[in-house]
């Protein structure tokens, strides 16, 4: 088939990002031609401020040099301005007469600085702040002249003013209103910002309306409406940007403020033409930050690759000011209205201000000044609509204070030394990550993972790595999108897919992949295992489990060790045992010459160093002695740990061991989204450490406290109290219901601790505690799922099931 021609007008971040996304999806689909007005490759425009401040060089902010275009077979016409789009002939015509035919066209012409329509605006030394040329002009002026005036006290204006000051100029910022950055900051934060900039030597002329720029040829001064005049050898206009729609408009595309596009980033006038980036108006909004552009790029690329399943639904944006030494973050509606409530912390002496706007216990906006490390945490909760009522009283102290559970941790990454280890699993230090981000020009978490392995294993440092990424490339890094696809094989989220499985009665993996239009025929290890679990959870009695869609530990029913041998952990219900049982385990250990034995943290006995082909025989002997699998290898219910309780303990209030055995008899064998542990303590001294378990029962004199969502692993998280009940029967019912709710609601590989934090304790209480009918229904569904799950997999394999898995082929050669 003949390749179609794709033409991109605008060699900026949005356009080139679209091409990168497209090349990932469909590298050979188009002949690609790019027109760029500037005589460079593609560079990171948001980093121009650090260049102006001499903190970075132009080379450091180049994203794609010319070899990238050559390597990908892209024709680059740099320094050529497109003058006309002829839609009838499907051609674009550049200023030098170059003509390119297109089958599909992307307009990514960006924006232009808005220049005030006042006398003198055309004088030399009056510029906007938009591209490398403007930076060069400013740097040149700073070496010859002294006085700079920046008109506009917004984000861009302050960054320009800061840079010019760094270059040794005396800078005055002129602002029409009485507070700086009014689109991002409330009054107290703006005042603190102004004070700290004034302390650095920046001058401010507030509520000043510019009337005229003075001078012959080159600008010499600025005159205001009140008649006052300030000296100026350089005037930078940073009063705003306007979408650059001239070309689109001339081509007859419908424009309002920007070129109007639909949810697949096609112009509403001509579906062959896409528009993307700052020149675009989508659902009434024109964006001027980079995160939305990247989201748009993904959607456009998806459509160009003819997948057509991505939709752009707008972006909630956040802002950080790139002025070294000033920490500032804002997002959402930070002013509030009569339906909202504010939580405010202000310490003028230490230069810290935090304000969070809440509506119905959900974050609607935030302004942080001085201490912004929790910005991305608040922002994530704002996008997720997280119910914060459970920790509202400590919200302002940040996630660190809350005792996070390993996902989205937030730490003071900026102040860490380069030698600080970020990823403990793979031994990756901060310096390695920062170096990879800057040298390889990484923008996303996935890229950093692929190149450095940081956060690629247990994932507990994901938040740190994201913070580093944000800190290194600026606040506008390509943040993890608010809706995370299940894996790279699909655009759909865990929740979408789980809902679809039920709603459309999808009962096999191929059916799910077909319905959701998977990009890969067999899926990948991530989605195969997740789908296998989701289907098993949805159709426990019907679904045929797929061993090839399970990790080796679950396929072999043992834990693989570094030398390829396995470990065997027989189940000991509630951690209880008899001398006969211990003897039986000892006999098995002798017979199979087990090199290492150990007591586990979950009160079981672990035998190491077993060859895979020996497993079924060993299981047969254990099974004969009455043992079943301990599931120490599975994303499954693992153990119920107990302390000795009222039978012996002089402090014990209830029979904790007896209850532990009952709980384990109820729950053993259950496949879960992740590993799942229980404990029962006989009194509040809590010797079984129940308050760091997925479910912890703490016995008290009057009954049983049920605690959930604890974690003793990567990040310790103490449980939340779910409720208190009076009888053992209730403990069992609530446990079954909670297990089932977690099984049906959590994402695969999400432990209860991050799940509780994501969905909120209130939702879990509503389902399991407040609504008796729902609790009973959940419990009943759990019992149904347990019928097939409690067929001991060891016994089945000892009797010949899955024999091929355990039988190597031996050749004489």
């Amino acid at each position: 088939m003949l390749k179609e021609n794709l033409v991109l007008i605008g060699n900026g971040m949005a356009g080139v990002r679209t091409l990168e996304e497209l090349l990932k999806l469909a590298p050979d689909q188009y002949n690609i031609t790019v027109f760029g007005e500037e005589p460079y490759g593609n560079y990171n425009r948001i980093m121009l401020s650090p260049v102006l401040a001499s903190e970075k060089t132009i080379e450091q902010i180049m994203l794609n040099d010319e070899s990238w275009y050559t390597d990908n077979g892209i024709t680059l016409h740099k320094g050529k301005k497109v003058e006309e789009i002829n839609r009838a002939r499907r051609e674009v015509i550049a200023s030098d007469g170059t003509v390119a035919h297109y089958d599909r066209l992307i307009i990514a012409t960006g924006s232009v600085p808005f220049m005030l329509p006042i006398p003198g605006v055309d004088k030399a030394g009056v510029i906007g702040f938009r591209d490398i040329k403007d930076v060069d002009t400013m740097l040149e002026a700073s070496s010859k002249y002294k006085h700079a005036v920046v008109i506009g006290g917004g984000l861009l204006g302050l960054e320009a003013a800061n840079g010019l000051m760094k270059q040794g100029m005396q800078v005055s910022v002129v602002h029409l209103l009485d507070t700086l950055m009014e689109r991002q900051l409330d009054k107290p934060a703006a005042q603190m910002l102004q004070k700290s900039l004034e302390a650095r030597g920046m001058k401010f002329l507030m509520q000043a309306s510019t009337a005229e720029l003075l001078g012959d040829g080159r600008v010499t001064g600025v005159r205001f409406k009140d008649g006052s005049v300030v000296e100026a050898d350089l005037v930078v206009m940073a009063v705003g940007i306007k979408p650059n729609i001239a070309l689109g408009k001339a081509a007859g595309l419908y424009c309002e403020r920007g070129i109007v596009v639909n949810d697949t980033m096609q112009t509403i006038t001509d579906p062959k033409i896409y528009a993307i980036g700052e020149c675009v108006q989508h659902r009434g909004t024109a964006y001027g930050l980079v995160a939305p552009l990247f989201e748009q790029a993904k959607v456009a690329a998806n459509h160009l690759a003819k997948y057509g399943i991505a939709r752009y639904q707008g972006t909630v944006t956040s802002t950080k000011l790139k002025v070294t030494g000033i920490e500032l973050f804002s997002a959402g509606d930070f002013i509030g209205n009569d339906k909202t409530e504010d939580i405010v912390f202000k310490d003028a002496a230490s230069g810290t201000y935090k304000k969070i706007v809440l509506e119905g216990n959900q974050i609607k906006g935030a302004v942080l000044y001085g201490d912004t490390v929790d910005g991305s945490w608040y922002f994530q909760m704002m996008k997720d609509g997280t119910d914060v009522s459970a920790f509202r009283d400590s919200l302002l102290f940040g996630q660190h204070h809350l005792g996070d559970s390993g996902h989205n941790p937030e730490t003071r990454v900026a102040s860490l030394p380069d030698s600080a280890e970020i990823c403990g699993c793979n031994g990756v230090c901060k310096g390695d990550i920062v170096k990879a981000i800057t040298e390889k020009k990484l923008f996303t978490l996935d890229e950093v993972r692929a190149h450095t392995k940081a956060s690629a294993s247990c994932g507990s440092c994901t938040g740190l790595v994201e913070s580093l990424l944000a800190h290194t490339v600026g606040g506008d890094y390509s943040a993890t999108p608010k809706t995370k696809p299940l894996c790279k094989c699909t655009e759909h989220t865990h929740d979408d897919i789980r809902a679809g499985i039920l709603q459309h009665s999808l009962k096999t993996m191929p059916a799910v992949r077909e319905f959701f239009d998977w990009k890969t025929p067999d899926g990948c290890p991530a989605c195969r295992n997740a789908l296998n679990y989701y289907l098993l959870c949805a159709y426990p009695t019907e679904y045929q489990d797929d061993p090839q869609s399970r990790y080796i530990n679950e396929r072999a029913h043992g834990n693989i060790q570094k030398d390829g041998t396995y470990s065997v952990v027989p189940r000991m219900f509630g951690g209880m045992c008899t001398s006969d049982q211990l003897r039986a385990i000892a006999d098995v250990a002798d017979k199979y010459q087990v090199p290492t034995m150990k007591v586990t943290g979950g009160q079981r006995i672990d035998m190491f160093g077993i060859q895979k082909e020996q497993l079924p025989a060993m299981w047969k002997d254990l099974s004969t002695a009455g043992f079943v699998s301990g599931h120490a290898y599975g994303k499954a219910m693992r153990t119920v740990k107990t302390c000795v309780g009222s039978e012996w303990c002089r402090f014990g209030t209830q029979d904790s061991t007896g209850l532990g055995v009952k709980l384990e008899e109820l729950t053993w064998g259950s496949w879960m989204p992740h590993k799942f542990k229980l404990a029962v303590s006989g009194c509040p001294r809590n010797c079984a450490e129940a308050t760091i378990k997925d479910i912890g029962v703490v016995c008290v004199d009057s009954g049983y406290e049920l605690h959930i969502g604890g974690n003793g692993g990567i990040k310790v998280r103490v449980t939340d109290l779910l409720c208190k009940v009076a009888t053992e029967a209730e403990v069992l019912e609530y446990t079954g219901a909670f297990c089932q709710f977690y099984r049906e609601d959590a994402h695969y590989l999400e432990r209860t601790a991050p799940w509780v934090e994501r969905v909120g304790l209130a939702k879990i209480k509503a389902a399991v505690v407040d609504d008796a009918a729902q609790r009973q229904a959940l419990h009943a569904r759990f019992l149904i799922s347990q019928q097939p799950a409690q067929i001991d997999p060891w016994k089945a394999r000892a009797n010949g099931a899955e024999a091929l898995e355990f039988t190597p082929i031996t050749l004489a050669q």
Partner: protein, 102 residues
């Protein structure tokens, strides 16, 4: 001298799964794709020697069970950005039987 050796019947290898073949010299993992294409690779990941036969196969790639390196079964090369290579062996299916060239 290398020669073709009959190893196993094709349907004794699970689809998107593998069998471990032990020879005197080494262990070899033989995989079967969803299209019944068969691949053979030394049963040792170039990273830390993990048994690739125990990994999850997807497309023409296997993910090592120890540290999730992805190895291309056609070439034996680790997928970028990891670097390394494991031996692959010629393999064919005739009359429902899998033959390995050793």
């Amino acid at each position: 001298m290398s020669q073709w050796i009959e190893v196993v019947e094709l349907d004794k290898i699970p689809v998107l799964g593998s069998r471990l073949v032990k020879t005197r010299e080494q262990n070899i993992a033989v995989f079967r794709g969803s299209d019944d294409q068969v691949y053979a690779i030394r049963d040792a990941c170039p990273h830390k020697g993990g048994p690739l036969s125990q990994g999850i196969m997807h497309g023409t790639t296997v993910t090592c069970p120890l540290h999730n390196w992805k190895i291309d079964l056609t070439s034996g090369h680790a997928l970028a950005p990891d670097e390394g290579c494991s031996n692959v062996f010629a393999v064919k299916v005739e009359g429902g039987k899998v033959y390995l060239q050793l």
